[in-house]
């Protein structure tokens, strides 16, 4: 009762306005004990803040929170509230005891269901209903019992009007939200550093450390343990959280296709070949985890995984089979099961439930109908009464009634004021050798969240007050579990898939930069043409325009000489706009930015916080580009290009210093160099192979040099005499010049040293041969040879470019086959159409 001991006039206006509102039952206004000290400490710090101050905090938060949006297409965002939720120590102790008790109980039930089944025999769990539950997994019975113990679980708790806590749901398979919780805590500590210190908030680090120790337990005697986090991929609405946890704990993020089972061992397909995996932290439901053994086929299954678990060669967390614990048939019997297994009532229980017969005499408006068979079915006793009558008349045994939860509300900051939103707390527990550990915080979220990933939800950090400072976890240095020196040298392996995405990330970064430069030059030249229209200028614009339209100098870099045919200067702006924002045009900037962002999301766990912010910024730009049309002014186009190149430069900068090559980052660099080599050859073969009048030729080489940011160097180096030949020499043949083709080839050659090789020393691999051949060609070629033309065509330049291009393509093909190829597609063997008994 916050109002009881406070005079409204002493409170800041934004707070008193909220408290004065009528509340059904609000955490701040009605709950939290008679003298909620935990809220007092918070508001004592906050009462000097104005509504504007809090709003600006809210804005800062929205910029910092990254787990919110998943990808460009889905615009889902979590609203992270600038006010934390406060629990007193007494309240939390009660919850903590309840969570521990419940976790122990669930573990016992799991052991029994996949073991002796005494609970079924005694009728404590209705066997027939359990047998029909799709989460009762018969495969579990052939696995070693220690593979079925719970590890990391969560439960959703809410408060009833009478102040009791009740459980809304248990999450025993893939307890989502811990990544979000950790991230929001990091942000909360930044935004509310002083309040955080003052409120004596319990830290969550200790729990996270234990989480990691729990995993290390399985790997402590291994030399090079490999732990992976298994995600469904970027289509999973929670992909960002998986990536966040992967980065936070330093475990490799993988998808099913990255893993394969060989000899009863799970292996990761990495650049180095197949590497054994020791622990899989799965974010894929256990019903769909093995597409060989399980009947329900899934794309996310790993054929043979269960056999590996059976062999004990891999540890899967959370263990197989735990999904059944969240089934209605277990949930609605938990109170009874607690009496049976623990000889104690549940400290925090489910809402009361009644079977169909019992509910006949009750007031349905307070109840909802739940189906044993389908967890998704929940019908409101008041609104859906007719439907319910119909259903229970048909199959009375398939349903039960449950008290409708009446959630408490908590204040959320919305548009300059506090509003009341119903809240649920997701709490996390870890089952260890030494008992159950509870995370001393919770993800406080408004249950207005729907399953629709596009609908946003509201979350709060939850602060647990400690009575005195000494209880706070001292900042301790983790004890190294292993004393071996070489462990420090081990870095995470990356999957071939991630390696491939890094390669493409490099290519898209370079492609984007290059396309933007070309477009800038093009815009510059056609605006100049409008001011002083002469034939040389007209021809330059014409050649560029055609080279862009015919995709000779932009992706897919079709090898052809660009001509002046069918050029209409009036269409220049349209060409420019298409290259900028037309999604139909393969190499347009908007498309390249999209691919770039996608590749970055796929490697998200390797990116730093700042790099990810740049990607968010790129996503915003993609949206802006989508909303533009042909009426955009040239000036606006130019400023969009400036912003895009700014983001790319910033992204490049943010990754330069933190790229350990052992993580596969050299592939990004290879991708970048390959793309640049292709650009240089395509520019020269499309625009410089036709012999033209000197002024036109010189304008053209200047434009090409500008595209490659080499104009100044060219002028300085060839002060006395400039020609197509000198331009080509600088762009193609100078091994010392960082933007030349030969320089790129030398770099690629160097970078290839990082690729694992299976060749004997002394022999070089096919991709290296391709590069060597190109390099040698460049070294042996003279500028005069390239410049020479026969009947107006520089045939030798065309051939030179073509050969280089072929070698580059070969290089990419070999890379794909040797290093990126995921195992071949898996086909299921079909036992059909077999002749059965003839008799």
């Amino acid at each position: 009762m916050y109002i009881k001991n406070h005079s409204m006039s002493a409170l800041p206006k934004w707070l008193s306005l909220y408290l004065k509102k009528p509340h059904v039952h609000d955490e701040l206004a009605n709950h939290g004990g008679d003298s909620p000290e935990q809220w007092d400490t918070l508001f004592n710090r906050l009462d000097s803040l104005t509504a504007e101050d809090i709003s600006s905090r809210a804005i800062e938060i929205s910029q910092l929170l990254q787990n919110g949006s998943t990808n460009i297409e889905s615009r889902s965002q979590w609203h992270f509230d600038p006010l934390p939720f406060m629990f007193s120590k007494a309240e939390w102790t009660l919850l903590e005891d309840g969570i521990k008790q419940r976790t122990i109980l669930l573990n016992k039930i799991q052991q029994d269901i996949y073991g002796e089944q005494k609970l079924l025999l005694d009728g404590h769990i209705p066997a027939q209903k359990l047998y029909q539950d799709s989460n009762y997994l018969r495969e579990g019975f052939s696995l070693p019992p220690e593979e079925l113990k719970l590890f990391f679980t969560a439960l959703d708790v809410y408060r009833t009007p009478s102040g009791e806590f009740k459980v809304l749901a248990d999450h025993c398979q893939c307890p989502l939200g811990m990544g979000l919780l950790v991230e929001s805590r990091i942000i909360a500590r930044r935004i509310m550093a002083e309040e955080f210190a003052e409120c004596n908030v319990q830290q969550i680090k200790g729990f996270l450390k234990k989480f990691q120790e729990g995993i290390n337990e399985y790997t402590q005697y291994m030399d090079d343990p490999r732990v992976v986090i298994l995600t469904q991929g970027i289509e999973d609405p929670n992909y960002n959280e998986h990536a966040f946890l992967s980065a936070y704990f330093g475990y490799t993020l993988v998808q099913s296709a990255d893993l394969t089972v060989r000899n009863g061992e799970v292996c990761l397909k990495s650049l180095q070949g197949l590497g054994k995996i020791n622990v899989i932290i799965r974010w894929v439901a256990d019903r769909f985890i093995d597409s060989l053994e399980q009947t329900e086929y899934s794309l996310h299954g790993i054929p043979g995984l269960l056999q590996a678990v059976r062999e004990g060669s891999v540890k899967v967390l959370n263990p197989f089979g735990s999904g059944v614990l969240s089934s209605p048939i277990i949930q609605c019997n938990l109170a009874k099961l607690s009496e049976q297994l623990l000889n104690k009532p549940l400290i925090i229980a489910e809402p009361n439930y009644y079977n169909v017969a019992q509910a006949e005499t009750l007031d349905w408006s307070l109840l909802e109908l739940v189906s044993y068979k389908n967890k998704q079915v929940k019908l409101d006793g008041e609104v859906d009464a007719e439907k319910i009558t119909l259903l229970i008349n048909e199959q009375p045994n398939d349903y039960y009634f449950q008290e409708k939860p009446i959630f408490s509300t908590a204040p959320f900051w919305d548009d300059g004021k506090l509003i009341a939103k119903p809240v649920v707390f997701r709490c996390y527990a870890l089952t260890t050798e030494n008992g159950v550990e509870v995370l001393p915080s919770a993800l406080c979220f408004s249950n207005e969240i729907s399953n629709d990933p596009n609908v946003s939800g509201w979350i709060k950090d939850t602060w647990i007050n400690t009575a005195d400072k000494t209880e706070l976890d001292p900042l301790n240095v983790p004890n190294p579990i292993k004393k071996r020196m070489d462990v420090t040298l081990l870095e995470g392996v990356i999957s071939s898939r991630t390696a491939e995405h890094l390669f493409w990330l490099g290519r898209y970064l370079e492609r984007c930069e290059n396309t933007i430069r070309i477009l800038r030059i093009f815009i510059d030249r056609y605006t100049e043409l409008a001011i002083s229209p002469d034939s040389t200028r007209r021809n330059i614009v014409g050649r560029f325009s055609n080279a862009i339209c015919m995709q000779h100098i932009v992706y897919p870099y079709i090898e052809q000489v660009s001509t002046l045919d069918d050029f209409d200067p009036l269409l220049s702006k349209q060409v420019a706009f298409q290259l900028l924002a037309d999604e139909q045009c393969a190499g347009s900037i908007i498309n390249t930015l999209k691919y770039l962002s996608n590749a970055a999301v796929q490697t998200r766990e390797l990116l730093s916080h700042d790099s990810r912010r740049m990607i968010n910024d790129i996503n915003v730009q993609v949206q802006l580009l989508k909303n533009t049309n042909m009426n955009i002014s040239t000036r606006a186009m130019q400023s969009m290009l400036d912003r895009a190149i700014g983001s790319i430069m910033a992204f490049n900068g943010s990754i330069t210093d933190c790229m350990p090559n052992s993580n596969g980052w050299f592939l990004l660099e290879i991708g970048r160099r390959i793309e640049r080599s292709i650009q240089i050859t395509s520019l020269s073969s499309a625009l410089l192979t036709e012999e033209l009048e000197t002024p036109e030729e010189m304008s053209l080489i200047e434009a090409v040099l500008s595209c490659q940011v080499s104009l100044v160097t060219h002028k300085r180096r060839y002060r006395m005499y400039q020609s197509i030949g000198t331009g080509l020499e600088l762009l193609l043949l100078d091994a010392e010049y960082p933007r030349s083709l030969l320089f790129q080839l030398e770099q690629i050659n160097q970078l290839c040293q990082h690729l694992p090789t299976k060749r004997r020393p002394g022999l070089i691999a096919a991709h290296e041969k391709a590069i060597l051949l190109s390099k040698t060609t460049c070294y042996l070629t003279e500028k005069d040879y390239l410049q020479k033309s026969v009947e107006g065509q520089r045939q030798q330049l065309i051939e030179f470019s073509h050969n280089i291009r072929m070698n580059l393509d070969t290089f990419c093909d070999v890379l794909l086959l040797q290093y990126f190829s995921h195992t071949q597609t898996a086909n299921k063997l079909n036992w059909t159409n077999i002749e059965q008994a003839q008799s």
Binding site: L292, T823, I834, A837
Partner: protein, 274 residues
């Protein structure tokens, strides 16, 4: 490169003893293990790492058939409705395990039509054995054996409506009937011996894979019924695996990496050793 699970090792149960069994696989496996599944079937897991065009799995087993197992069945005086009531409230481990087989499965969904069909055989207080025999005979006489009419994915309703199919469909149909009565029925996959016409030599590979159903008799165990031949199996049927329906007992499951289309052929030889 392929990974497989085979359920080809004969079971040992009240009708037969598997004395020994060995599996031969070509090309050679690089991984081979056995485990026992939820329904107590023997499962062989194997993996072949080399490229291959042909995979041959040969299972050689010596099985003793206990032909006397069903001798006293007809003396059993157990009304089917009593069995149904027992299964509804299982109070022993045996009944609890059997009760699972009273439930519809993916390939044996229940509907009112099937229930009505079954009720003709399962009249009140009829002996379980008589009712089951009656049901088996009706399927044998009422359904037309028509290879090629159905596939694995043909729904049971089509089999029922058209009254045609193969042994697998008849077994599934019988199971749906039993389960709609609240009785426990399980699917049996196995082999059947075939007899050459009078005076002719038996051909190699002429015996066949087969499927039938079994009914749970309290105190006795699982009793087999073969609706395709209208007999209680005695000395011509060998059981490989049991389950709720075909999907639990698939003789050979596998995942093949790469390659094109596949074709599966099966041949069975049964040789009497007495």
């Amino acid at each position: 490169m392929c990974q497989n699970q085979a359920r080809l090792t004969p079971k040992t149960d009240r009708g037969q003893i598997c004395h020994h069994s060995r599996i031969e696989i070509s090309p050679p496996t690089n991984y081979l293990r056995q485990f026992t599944d939820y329904f107590n079937n023997n499962v062989t897991v194997f993996e072949i790492a080399t490229q291959h065009k042909i995979l041959t799995v040969t299972m050689i087993s010596e099985v003793e058939l206990l032909v006397g197992a069903n001798n006293n069945l007809n003396d059993l005086d157990v009304p089917w409705d009593e069995v149904r009531d027992l299964l509804a409230k299982p109070n022993t481990t045996e009944l609890l395990k059997a009760a699972e087989f009273t439930l519809p499965s993916q390939l044996t969904p229940l509907d009112d039509g099937i229930r009505d069909y079954a009720l003709v055989s399962f009249t009140p207080e009829t002996n379980l054995i008589d009712a089951c025999n009656h049901l088996m005979a009706r399927i044998f006489h009422g359904f037309y054996y028509d290879p090629g009419f159905t596939t694995i994915s043909t729904p049971l309703s089509v089999v029922f409506a058209q009254k045609r199919g193969v042994c697998q469909d008849f077994a599934h149909f019988a199971l749906a009937c039993l389960r709609s009565m609240g009785l426990a029925g399980r699917y049996v996959s196995g082999y059947i011996e075939t007899m050459p016409p009078e005076g002719e030599e038996k051909l190699e590979g002429a015996d066949a894979t087969h499927a039938w159903f079994a009914v749970f008799f309290p105190g006795v165990g699982w009793v087999d019924f073969d609706p395709t031949n209208n007999v209680l199996p005695t000395d011509q049927h060998i059981t490989l695996a049991v389950g709720r329906d075909f999907s639990d007992v698939t003789p050979l499951k596998g995942v093949v990496f790469g390659g094109g289309s596949q074709q599966l052929d099966v041949a069975v030889d049964m040789i009497r050793l007495e």
